[in-house]
C-alpha cells in the first residue's frame, strides 16, 4: 500500500530533514509515528498526502509512483486519503457540520445521503452541541475533533493523523483512538503521528516508527516501547 525507498527531503537549501527513509506498510496496517519535536513527522506525512515532493527517493501509494502521478489524477488519490492536520485547517466560514461534510460534498455526494452519518459522527466525537458553530468559537480540543471527523467521514483507505490528540483530555484521547482503531479494523491503513506514549501503549497491535535526526527506525507490531 505504502512504499518509501531511500526518501530524502530538504527544504530549500537547508539540511536534509528526512534521510534515506524506507519503509513499507501493507493495507490495513496501523502505525504510530513518533520522535522529538522538529524530527520531521509532519514532513513525512506531507509526503504521504501529496503536499510535498521528495527531494530524492521513491514513494509508491496505492500501487502508483507518486512522483510520476499527473495533476489531474490527484483528486482521485486524495479522496482515498483522510488527513488530520496538526493545525486543523478548518474553514472559518463554514460551520462544524459543513466542514465535516466538505470531503463528501466535493466528491459529489448529496446532502441527504450524508447528513445523518455526519450528525452521528459529530455526536461520537462530542461535538453534538456544536454542529452549527463556526470554528472560531470552538475550543482548541473541539476544533481538533472537528478536524478528525472531517478526516474520517469519507472512510478513507489511508488515514494520516498529525498529533490528533494534542488538545484533548486523556479520556477523550482514548475515545478518539478507538475511532481510529475501529476504522483500521474496517480496512483503513492508519498512521498517527504523536508524542503521546500512552496512546501508543494502548494500541498493542500497531507498529511504531520513530524518527530521529532524519532517520526512521521501526519497531515491529506488538513491541511498543
Amino acid at each position: 500500500m505504502i512504499t518509501l525507498e531511500n526518501v530524502g527531503v530538504r527544504y530549500g537549501t537547508g539540511p536534509e530533514i528526512l534521510r534515506d527513509v524506507s519503509f513499507r506498510l501493507a493495507k490495513g496496517e496501523m502505525a504510530f509515528l513518533t520522535g522529538p519535536s522538529g524530527a520531521g513527522k509532519t514532513t513525512l506525512l506531507r509526503l504521504l498526502y501529496l503536499a510535498l515532493r521528495p527531494t530524492r527517493g521513491l514513494i509508491r501509494l496505492f500501487g502508483e509512483d507518486v512522483t510520476a502521478v499527473s495533476r489531474a489524477r490527484l483528486p482521485e488519490l486524495r479522496r482515498r486519503i483522510g488527513v488530520v492536520f496538526q493545525d486543523f485547517r478548518l474553514l472559518d466560514h463554514l460551520t462544524t457540520f459543513e466542514n465535516v461534510a466538505l470531503p463528501l460534498h466535493v466528491a459529489g455526494v448529496r446532502a441527504d445521503e450524508y447528513r445523518d452519518n455526519i450528525l452521528e459522527l459529530l455526536e461520537w466525537v462530542g461535538l453534538g452541541d456544536h454542529v452549527n458553530a463556526y470554528p472560531r468559537v470552538l475550543s482548541g480540543g473541539e476544533r481538533q475533533r472537528a478536524a478528525i471527523a472531517r478526516a474520517i467521514v469519507s472512510k478513507p483507505h489511508l488515514l494520516l493523523a498529525d498529533e490528533p490528540t494534542g488538545n484533548v483530555d486523556p479520556q477523550l484521547a482514548r475515545r478518539l483512538l478507538r475511532l481510529f482503531v475501529e476504522l483500521n479494523r474496517l480496512g483503513t491503513t492508519v498512521i498517527i503521528a504523536t508524542h503521546d506514549a500512552s496512546l501508543i501503549a494502548a494500541t498493542p497491535g500497531a507498529r511504531v516508527m520513530t524518527l530521529h535526526q532524519g532517520r526512521l527506525s521501526i519497531t515491529p507490531a506488538g513491541e511498543a516501547a
Binding site: 460551520t95 466538505l102 468559537v137
Partner: protein, 330 residues
Amino acid sequence: MTAQTKKPGGWGAPVPKGLSGRNILPRTHAPLRTFMVAMAVMTYLAAVAIGGMFMTWRAIQIWKSGVVAEATVQILPLSEPEQNSGKAQKLPATDMNTRVQQAVRFLEKRPEVKSLRVLTDRENRALLQPWLGDVSIMQDVPLPRLIAIRLNPERKIDIAALDRALRAAVPGARLDAHGRWVRALSHMASTVFWLGLGILAAIIIAAVVLVVHAARAALESNRETIEVLHLVGARDSFIARQVQRLFLRAGFLAGMLGVAAAWLTFALLALLAPAEGIREGAWQLLFGAPEKIAYHYGAWLIIVLTATTISLLSARTAAMRILAEMFAEP
C-alpha cells in the same frame, strides 16, 4: 479580542442543510469587499465618463445642426468690367432676379440643402444695417440679394465643393458658411472630444489594472480555503467553478451598482445642474429618444458585461495559478 460572535446554533439548533447549492468560498471577506468596491467605483467612473462623452457628442451634434447648418448665399450685383470707369451703371433688375431664380433652382436640387428662403428686400437691408448704417440713405444703391439656406445636418457636407458648384452655375453667386467660426468651433469640439476619449481610456486601463489586482488579492486571501478544498479531494474544475460563481456574482453586482450610481449621477444632473445645457443633455442621455438612448444603455450594459468578464477571468486565472503551485515540481 477574537470574535466573540454569537454561536449560531449549537443548543437545540436546527438540522444543518449541507453544502449543496451553497458557495464554499466565503462571500463576506474584507478583500472580496475591497474588490467589489473597486469594481463598483471603476464601473461608475467608466459609466460617468462614457455618459459624459455621449453628452458632449450630442451637444456638438445639436450645436452643429443649429449653427453649422445655417449658411447664406449672396447674389452680388454684377458690374461690367469694361465699364468700370465712370458712373455706376444700374444692372437690369430682371438679371438679378433671374440669377436669384437660377440659384434657387440650383440649390433646391442639392441634397445638402434642407430648405432655403430668398430674403425680402427689407430683410436684406436689415441684415446689412450693421455694416452700412441706416440703409434708407442709399435707397438706390444696388445691393446683393441674399438667400438663407439650412443645410442638412445629417449629411457630411463639403462646403467648399458646394460653393464652387454654385459659383459655376450662377454668376456672381457665392456661399458663406461662416467658415472661420465653424472651423474654430469644430476644432475645439474635437479637441475636447479626444481629450475626453483619452480620459476614458485612462480610466479603463486603470480600472483593468486595479480590478485584476484586487481580484487576485481577494483570491490570494482565499488561498487557504483553496488549499483545503484541494486537499480534501476537490477537482480543479470544481474549485474553478466555485471561484467563478463567486466572482461572477461579485463582478456583476459591483458593475450594476457602479452603473446604477452613474445613472443616478446623471439623473441628479438632469434635475439640478446649474447650466441649462447640461440639464438638457443629461435628460436626453437618460430619457431621450429610444433610438438614441439605446446606444447609451447599450454602452452601460457593455460596461457591466466587461466588468463581469474581467472579474471572472482574472479570478479564474488566479485560482488556477494557486492550484498549479500545489504539489508542483520542487
